[in-house]
Symmetry: C2
Subunit: 226 residues, 2 copies
Amino acid sequence: MDNNQFKSPILTVDIVLFTIIDKELNILLSKRDSGSKVFSGDFSLPGGFVHTNEDVNLVNSAIRVLKEKIDFRHSIYLEQLEAFSGVNRDPRGWSVSIAFCAIIPFSEVSTNENVKWVSISEVSGLNLPFDHNEIIEKAVLRIRNKSSYSILPIYFFKDKFTLSELQKVYEVILQQKLDKSSFRKRIEDLGVLTLLEGEYKLGSQRPAQLYTINNVKTPWFKSNLN
Amino acid sequence: MDNNQFKSPILTVDIVLFTIIDKELNILLSKRDSGSKVFSGDFSLPGGFVHTNEDVNLVNSAIRVLKEKIDFRHSIYLEQLEAFSGVNRDPRGWSVSIAFCAIIPFSEVSTNENVKWVSISEVSGLNLPFDHNEIIEKAVLRIRNKSSYSILPIYFFKDKFTLSELQKVYEVILQQKLDKSSFRKRIEDLGVLTLLEGEYKLGSQRPAQLYTINNVKTPWFKSNLN
DNA sequence: ATAATAGTGTCTCTGAGACATTATGAC
DNA sequence: GTCATAATGTCTCAGAGACACTATTAT
């Protein structure tokens, strides 16, 4: 029970930040700092060390790391995924990385020369540093799974959206067509969407009703207990 | 991106080990070492530092820590719960603890003077060190939730069990009566149980068929996608 | 036979999915 | 009017739950 007799593991956070681009889930990769001891200049998940002098907890560390990589004004969805660990996952030594899933509305994505967005079909062909391929795989599964029984996908929208737009996002994430009728029934029964009275999305067809989310956090469909 | 400019956080693992005693979920608490710098002599979740010289990953650390506390021959169920972190959760400083959920068959529980089993109704009345009350709360929710849509509760059995016994364990965990007929339909439809031909549990009533688990890991009920 | 638990069958209700139909805008 | 998409309605089917019924042992 004495901390001093063992070399302390390296402790980092990594973030799998999702958005939707061109009807596909995309993930943010960032170019590793030239001063980094390992994989410098390569693209990897955005991540970094915990700053014990300024972060109050790991969520805070994750947000700080993300803000160092990209600009975002709108608040993002953030959820802890899993701790990845082992004596061999990092060439520098015994390492633990707490991975997070995050979602940013596609209307808010910014970019710069140190980051790039990569679709999840492309990313599986890349050979990323550390166990970042495995982390991404698990993050995608998590997002898919949660989307199948919750309204998580609303976090891909900034504020207003139509039910058809929301359905399309579900279809992109779940990679399957959904029935319009039952989709709408499920969503509306949740009672988490507020109809924006008199507000419509105009196009070259019938205008669609705009909705926004109540300030309720990720409720579940009834299929799950509780 | 330089590790050395920040004081490294304290990194530990904590385990919420469940079993069932007297028709209630129980959790293992262990007496903290007299040499421990904080809360020494108090009861807390079993936990400890990662030993970078002998552990290969965090699962390994968790198992080692548990083995230091109690004897167990039979393999146990172990699953990562969540990383708990913050500048204030440990009086020694910025700390991260990776919490695990674990299950041991109630036929296998051993005990000694440094550990005690406490029912989850009792434990909520205790004021445990660190954020251990919060960790336990989340662990209980996780076990309850998973039990509602998976066959996780089989891990409370060593090998053979009857469907009635299994149902009783579900009822203890979920804190509600289940319908015998639909319970059996759900379980049998999963196809994960093997009927032990000719083996029955005898009592003062009609003998019950004994089953065992296929070497399948925690499948889900259909209600969840995938 | 009775008690007690094991195990099965039947009915109903609900919710999801398939699919058809109606509604409302632009042109 | 046509076209495209929004929105709603109808039908069927499957699974869960309520509950009744049958089966098999000990005594």
